[in-house]
Amino acid sequence: MSGALVRMGAIVRKEFRHLGRDPRMLLAVVITPVIQLLLFAYAISFDVENVPTIVIDLDRTPTSRSYLEKYEASPFFEVVEHGSTLADVDDAFDHNTARVAVVISAGFARTLDGGGQAQVAVLVDGSEPTAAKVAQTYSVALNQLYTQQLTRAWADAQGLDLSSLGMLEPRVRTWYNPERRSSDFLIPGLMVVIIAIVTVQQTAVTLVRERDLGTQEQLEVSPMRRIELMVGKLLPWTLIAFLDVVMITLLGRALFGIPLRGQPVALALGAALFVFASLGMGLLISAIAPSMDTANIIALLIAFLPSFLLSGFAFDLAQVPIVLQWLAYAFPAQYMVTISRAVFLKGAGVADLWPEFAALAAYAAVMLGISSLLYGRRSSR
């Protein structure tokens, strides 16, 4: 056993030496995550505020004006134009001067006064889906608020005390990320993408490299077992992946004030399971890929793209086609994105996230199992 430890230690030391001698690899695993973090957090923003809005008041009554004031006051809408006809909406959308149009039809005040249901048309430019969705949600909320106010005014006029009846006042709130800052949302997801790249890509290449160099044969004539080689190869990348996790967490806190509300242990456990699942994928690629180039391409296809596109990191999984949703279940990234966001933002613990933890653990076990079977089969013989 001590012989095995010595041999694994030798592999680990050697792997770190390779890393130290290869500036590009060092760059890829340490500097690139930082750059990606800054890029995503600063440059790519899903924040929705000051959505340019055109209002068209065809009613021109004090009631309609007071309704529109709600839009003026909201930080989410910025009323950039007061139009007079519906044609102005097309114009504004075409020229990208506005993304939301609020149209109050004539008779708005009269309908409300008569106790009827007044209709307000809220038109949303769908070419920017995120902003559109938020704008839609907010105008619905504003309408509700306004309706409540009207109800209360009506009740006051009737001499009724609604609050004593226990009627609840609706408040619109976004939980977990009250300011809806996209960095809060992105960075926990970005962490997952970065782990996937570091682990899958590097593991996929590292074993193929031994074959390409011809050193594989020298390892085979040593008393070293395949499992020792695997552990020795995986350990450095596990450590580096964790280094990246810590780095992203600390930078996220220091630069962007990302809260870590949950237990760090839960995050660490999730990261560990995800790392093992990813390493398993990397090993699998290494066992079957005939060359370094093939290994790189496969790693890109099964690690980077799914963790980027099918994890909920960039796109809400509920909004992608059903086939892609199924596909997303086949990759571990989406479970880790869920865990990461829940721990960071919701303060969730292991108990809350057990289905995701179980999925990752199962994934890791299956991947490592298959890859060690495949790798254990002496491919060169």
């Binding site: 012989g3 010595v6 041999r7 230690g9 030798a10 592999i11 030391r13 050697k14 030496r17 390779h18 001698r21 290869d22 160099l213 011809g214 050193t215 044969e217 020298q218 390892l219 085979e220 004539v221 040593s222 008393p223 070293m224 002496r378 060169s380 013989r381």
Partner: protein, 331 residues
């Protein structure tokens, strides 16, 4: 007359390598074709043959990194298939291509491979120093392997292979692509190992290196065509060897080939190597035949047979056919 290769039955365990009916195919290609081989302990056994003869495949099977398709082979009495763990600690295997980490230094490479081979820490240091000094690499211990010259790379591989003191060295063309000075030095090191009692199996495409071996085997088409000591091999070539120089060597060769008593004529550089198995003194006979044919500037002198010529003779299908019929060769 050349007895067909038969080895006297060795006492059990006396052979470092013993292979019977060893065969390896890659798809439809037969690389090693039912080969028998006995390498006595302590021998420097040269494995000669052209590219594609099956030398590397044979060595890789003996090194346990390639499984035979059929047949069996033992190293120090242990099967290379079922007893790998008993075989690998006693062998050192040097593959044909450079197989060290290019980005690690000489010292780091040696230390890594020695560590996984189970050489202790203190032993590693003293042994690496000794080996590197012995090979003149001690100035380059901190140099990355990728920046070594071809000869130095081969010496580094050999030094690394020797770290765990293997009893049997399997060297696959260690001197291919190495300059003549480094080649000579490499063989000086092998001679030292031989003096130490180590067994060496070395593949080489260079015929001149065969002279330095205690035993040689000529491999072609996946089979051993000839084997024995260098003297035994040379004795298989009947007659005397002469060198013919002329203004036009090709014309000279054509003339000489037709002279009665000449078994074979080969062009080697710009001299014609002639094998004479006839009666009488060959030199005047050849000189007069060449003069009669109008070849100018003729010189004929007897030379001692070397391996190059011996194998050229033995590999020649026409002479090999003669070899198979003793009465023809003996006449």
């Amino acid at each position: 007359m050349p007895a067909l290769p038969t080895t006297p039955a060795p006492p059990p365990g006396a052979d470092a390598i013993r292979a019977r009916g060893l065969r390896r195919t890659f798809g439809d290609t037969v690389a090693v074709d039912g080969l028998d081989l006995d390498v006595p302990t302590g021998a420097v056994f040269g494995l000669l043959g052209p590219d594609g003869a099956g030398k590397s495949t044979l060595i890789r099977m003996l090194a346990t990194v390639l499984a035979p398709t059929a047949g069996e082979a033992t190293v120090f009495g242990h099967s290379v298939v079922t007893e790998r763990d008993a075989v690998t600690p006693r062998i050192g295997y040097m593959s044909q291509r450079f197989s060290m980490y290019p980005d690690l230094s000489v010292a780091e490479n040696m230390e890594f491979f020695a560590t996984i081979r189970g050489v202790g820490r203190a032993d590693r240091r003293t042994r690496a120093r000794q080996l590197l000094e012995g090979m003149g690499l001690d100035e380059f211990t901190t140099r990355q392997a990728q920046f070594l010259s071809g000869g130095m790379k081969q010496k580094l591989m050999l030094a690394t292979t020797l770290m765990h003191r293997p009893d049997l060295l399997l060297l696959d063309e260690p001197t291919t692509g190495v300059d003549p000075v480094s080649r000579r030095e490499f063989w000086r090191i092998l001679a030292g190992l031989h003096a130490d009692g180590r067994t060496v199996l070395v593949a080489t495409p260079y015929m001149d290196e065969a002279e330095r071996c205690t035993h040689i085997a000529f491999l072609d088409g996946g089979r051993i065509r000839q084997h024995g000591t260098p003297d035994e091999i040379k004795a298989k070539v009947p007659g005397r060897l002469l060198e013919v120089t002329a203004a036009d060597p090709r014309a000279a060769m054509a003339v000489v080939d037709g002279v009665a008593g000449v078994t074979s004529a080969h062009l080697l550089g710009d001299v014609v190597r002639v094998l004479w198995d006839g009666a009488g003194d060959p030199a005047p006979t050849l000189a007069s035949a060449l003069a009669a044919a109008g070849v100018r500037d003729v010189g004929v002198r007897p030379v001692a047979p070397d391996m190059e010529t011996v194998f050229a003779y033995l590999a020649d299908p026409s002479t090999r056919a003669a070899d198979a019929e003793p009465e023809v060769a003996a006449s």
